[in-house]
């Protein structure tokens, strides 16, 4: 279980090898890697800058990861999120979850990405030929995150 927030790029293959190394209870690893696209809306993006709130970021990511670990039987997990200036094709984020069975790995990986998209304090400033502009949050991200909200049967009070 690990969380890293960094300006530097990361090597997915090395990170995965480290994540699973020697743990033979792992049957499957689900991974998501987010990349910078060169198009947003209709505008060409030449670069973007990821701003974040350092004191809050690692705290939120650790909370999110702790919740995933509580909800699914995970053998290992990893979140890496970059900040700073990135160009199209650059890696932004990596989430990996390892479990005995693939369903737990897939679900928890999606869960982590959905929460990260709606809770982790990062903001994208895109540089386009129209100038620099802050990216708007997408409603579809809220919708995706909402499907993980647990309905508490004891919440009547």
């Amino acid at each position: 279980m690990a969380v890293r927030v960094q300006a530097e790029d990361f090597d997915v293959g090395k990170e995965l090898a480290q994540l699973t190394n020697g743990n033979h209870a792992i049957g499957g690893v689900a991974v998501f890697v987010g990349l910078v696209r060169d198009l947003a809306g209709g505008s060409e993006i030449s670069a973007m800058t990821l701003e974040h709130y350092p004191a809050m970021t690692e705290k939120m990511l650790a909370e999110i990861e702790a919740e995933a670990t509580e909800r699914w039987p995970l053998e290992a997990s990893l979140i890496i999120h970059r900040f700073g200036r990135l160009e199209p094709g650059d890696q932004i984020v990596m989430v990996a979850t390892a479990s005995a069975h693939r369903q737990a790995a897939f679900e928890s990986c999606e869960f982590l990405m959905d929460w990260l998209k709606t809770k982790a304090p990062f903001w994208k400033l895109e540089e386009t030929d129209q100038g620099a502009q802050w990216v708007d949050a997408r409603d579809s991200d809220d919708t995706a995150a909402a499907r993980w909200v647990k309905k508490d049967p004891d919440a009547a009070e």
Binding site: G34, L50, E51, H52, Y53, A55, M56, K59, M60, H81, I92, V93, M113, L116, K117, T118, K119, A120, P121, F122, W123, K124, L125, W134, V135, D136, A137, R138
Partner: protein, 83 residues
């Protein structure tokens, strides 16, 4: 109180962080936002759309009714767009 501004809230308020002395009648997140709005045109503009503003008190998300005090770190920012 330490205030932090991120993304376009930083651009619109013109500052990344500041230390403020809270008036005595400001005890909640909602009251803080209302008070900040009255501090000038740039703040009024930045805070005009409450639905577009998220608040964290001591690095945790907070609601309008949550308490704030002089020793808190309060951050104002738009909905997040990382990942």
């Amino acid at each position: 109180m330490k205030l932090l501004y991120f993304a376009w809230l930083k651009t619109k308020t013109g500052m990344a962080e500041e230390d403020v002395a809270l008036p005595e009648d400001v005890a909640t997140v909602g009251e803080l936002l209302t008070w900040l709005e009255g501090r000038g045109a740039n703040f009024a503009d930045a805070l005009s759309d409450r639905g577009a503003i998220r608040v964290a008190v001591n690095q945790s998300y907070a609601k309008p009714g949550d308490p704030v005090g002089p020793n808190d770190e309060v951050a104002l920012f738009p909905p997040v767009t990382g990942g």
